[in-house]
Amino acid sequence: MGGDRITKGLLFSSSLVLLLLSAGMIFTLASGAIPAFREFGGRFIFSSAWDPTPGKEQYGALAFIAGTMLTSLLALIICIPMAFSASLFVSEYYKGTRIASVLRSLVDLLAGVPSIVYGFWGFYTLRPLIMKTGLSDQGFGIFTASLILAIMIVPYATSLSSEIISMVSTEMKEAAYSLGATRREVIFNVVIPSAMSGIVASFILALGRALGETMAVTMLIGNANIIPKGLFSPGNTMASVIANQFGEADGLKMSALIAIGLILFAITALVNALGKVIIKRFA
């Protein structure tokens, strides 16, 4: 059918947009990053030196790579039980009821809070709270940043998961119930396996959000350009250092920041690929 071919062609070209966009972005970032790599070579990725003092500039990305990985993974770990509970609540236990829509709206609200507001709230409210628990001197640090990240990414994980979970076919579930399974057993043996792909996709979405989050993290992480020594010590992430330093940066420093952006691109790709491998192993 001619019409079908046109439709298929249209769909294909929209996918091209994405391809061209990513290629263009990588190209632009790479050209900006070349001066830094030319100056520091491969050492850039593995060095944790960061001295912006004019005259003796030394840049290395390791401290930020460590900070980003730590905060994002920790945020995901904290987020998983929360998102799981919320999506099961909304799409299984109380599906279709008033309280489920209330909960869903509340979680969606979390997505609507601007990241800068999370930064402010974290700075003015969360930080003193953490200081009170005595775990950290000034409240800045990896843990605080991960906590705020976790709260920020919960709606991404929950929204999509609950949609997927609610779409699991009722016949399959009823078949399991008719065999005498308890609700929990139906969830673990029917719902989750069939929704697995969507659930993992939602967590990857959430992780992606965490990897790139800038404003909220930068207000709470303490901005110490070193590899964090412990859970409650300050550190810095790739997105945060770019946001902080970009306004005033120029020349070699600017190139170093763009190079960090490129590395973040690569790390996100790696983490995603790893996630897919994990799915394949469990599916």
Binding site: M1, M25, S105, S115, S202, T214
Partner: protein, 293 residues
């Protein structure tokens, strides 16, 4: 024999109840932060919100200083930010929603192809790009390249790129959940491809698609970093997309950096949140009024 069965059932039923309790407590913990944040925003911000908040442009530091010194409400509002945000979000949506939906459908229809998994991976990676990098990219492509100056167009492009991956992935995943029989029944009846998409696939997955679009809108409404490098900001209302424009998150950033206007930060944030909530409620009621799923 009977005892083992009874024990088994007992054990399973206890586990069942415990699990339910776990889920409920987990859900409660999940929503505690939103209460804390909203209460905080309301307490600090509700004072500033009145009609002029929506119709007047942002105040200057002197007005703010005198008002705070006198204990009054700071005059002015966020009208320039509102209009700017609206224009940029509409433009970004016009660019991102059709492209995202179509790409999502393409990925769903061509699951097995190698090319499709490349696109899928690229989408996931795009999702993780920090918004400031997108701002840098839009600065280089549009501000330097196209409009030769800061512009709302550059801001819209940065926002559109941010929306794209969320829409693509949620579309694909939602479509995957539709029972394949529905699609096949439609083909069996000889329905042309595009009609099947519009009349069958999309209505069936409407709720999920709306969720994805809503999520992407919520994401971009609050973004500051990319807009600083693209639309810059503006003291007045600007309808020309080739010129700089204000936006609500930009105003929030300006208020934060001004020593006298910190209280406006909370009111503007409160407004933003209420707006997103209304968007959510709106989309849910639309989904509910549809006849199928």
């Amino acid at each position: 024999m009977g005892n083992i069965l009874a024990d088994n059932i007992n054990r399973r039923s206890k586990r069942n109840k415990r699990f339910k309790g776990l889920i409920i407590s987990g859900s409660i913990i999940t929503v505690i932060p939103i209460f804390l944040i909203v209460i905080n925003l309301i307490i600090k911000g509700v004072r500033q919100i009145n009609l002029s908040f929506f119709t007047e442009t942002s105040p200057d530091t002197f007005q703010a200083m005198t008002a705070t010194a006198n204990g009054e409400v700071i005059p002015g509002g966020i009208a320039n930010g509102l209009v700017g945000s609206l224009i940029m979000v509409l433009l970004a949506s016009a660019l991102a929603i059709p492209t995202g939906l179509m790409t999502g459908v393409y990925l769903y229809e061509n699951k097995k192809k190698r090319y499709a998994s490349v696109i899928r991976s690229l989408t996931d990676v795009l999702q993780g790009v920090p918004s400031i990098i997108l701002g840098i990219i839009a600065y280089i492509w549009i501000v330097k390249g196209v409009t030769r100056g800061y512009s709302a167009l550059a801001g819209s492009i940065a926002l559109a790129i941010m929306m794209l991956p969320i829409i693509v992935r949620s579309t694909e995943e939602t479509l995957s959940m539709i029972p394949v029989q529905i699609r096949e029944a439609s083909f069996a009846l000889g329905v042309p491809y595009y009609k099947m998409m519009i009349k069958v696939l999309i209505p069936c997955s409407f709720s999920g698609l709306a969720t994805g679009i809503l999520l992407s809108l919520s994401r971009i409404l609050g973004e500051t970093a990319p807009l600083m490098l693209t639309s810059l900001g503006s003291p007045g209302i600007n309808l020309n997309i080739a010129k700089p424009s204000s936006a609500v998150p930009l105003l929030i950033w300006d208020f934060y950096n001004d020593p006298n206007m910190v209280s406006m930060v909370w009111s503007a944030s409160l407004f933003l949140m209420i707006f997103v909530l209304s968007l959510n409620i709106l989309s849910r009621s639309i989904s509910k009024n549809r006849k199928y799923i």
